[in-house]
Point group: C2
Chain length 125, copies 2
């Protein structure tokens, strides 16, 4: 997830990445499921197909010792979904890591920003 | 760049990202230029075309108050290249941020890893 700084003009973010287990998109999906109770709704608000959202959930569930998300009708249905205890734990840890990392590097980020042009070029990929 | 943990089995990394100014790939290019004295060589060792490497350098140069990379023949030539004082400073700050961030979240990363399956699925995008 993006630990986007709230500083005006800040254009740096710290991203905790992982191939498979957890990462920015997956953490957002967990947040979405937590708030909407639905994998489809969680995906939708990220502009993501149900299939894609489901595949992220499946991958997370396999990557941890215990599933992070439980579905009321199980399997590939569009029934309700909720975070398991492990899911809550993983999401909280992930968000805490973002916050701690951001806090730890505040001085260096400030120095880096101070070197940046006042009017940066538009973002590109 | 990847502040990849050296822990065996660790699959998490902290990435400092920025749209335009500096990010993992750009920091690696700076490292490459620093070590090879050439944009082409820096790109090559990352499996990147000269054009792509040059475009990253150009973007960095515009994103900061002062250029990060100077070229001996200037412009789009394949002549020698070197980091400017600002370039050295930005690269050092970027790497320090990675190290500090990783250190700050070591306990939480450990907890997260402890929840991961022993035999994770192969990485996918």
């Amino acid at each position: 997830m993006k630990a986007g700084s709230k500083t005006k003009g800040a254009r740096l973010r710290i991203v905790l990445e992982e191939d498979g287990a957890i990462g920015p998109g997956k953490a957002d999906i967990l947040d979405g499921i937590r708030e909407t109770g639905s994998i489809a709704a969680a995906g939708r608000r990220m502009g993501m197909s149900y299939k894609r959202a489901w595949s992220l959930v499946e991958r997370m569930n396999r990557a941890f010792r215990e599933p992070l998300v439980s579905t009321s009708r199980g399997g590939h249905s569009k029934g309700g979904a909720a975070l398991t205890g492990t899911g809550e734990q993983v999401l909280a840890l992930y968000r805490r890591i973002e916050t701690e990392a951001e806090r730890a590097v505040e001085p260096e980020l400030g120095a880096l920003r101070g070197l940046m042009a006042a009017d940066p070029p538009p973002p590109t990929k």
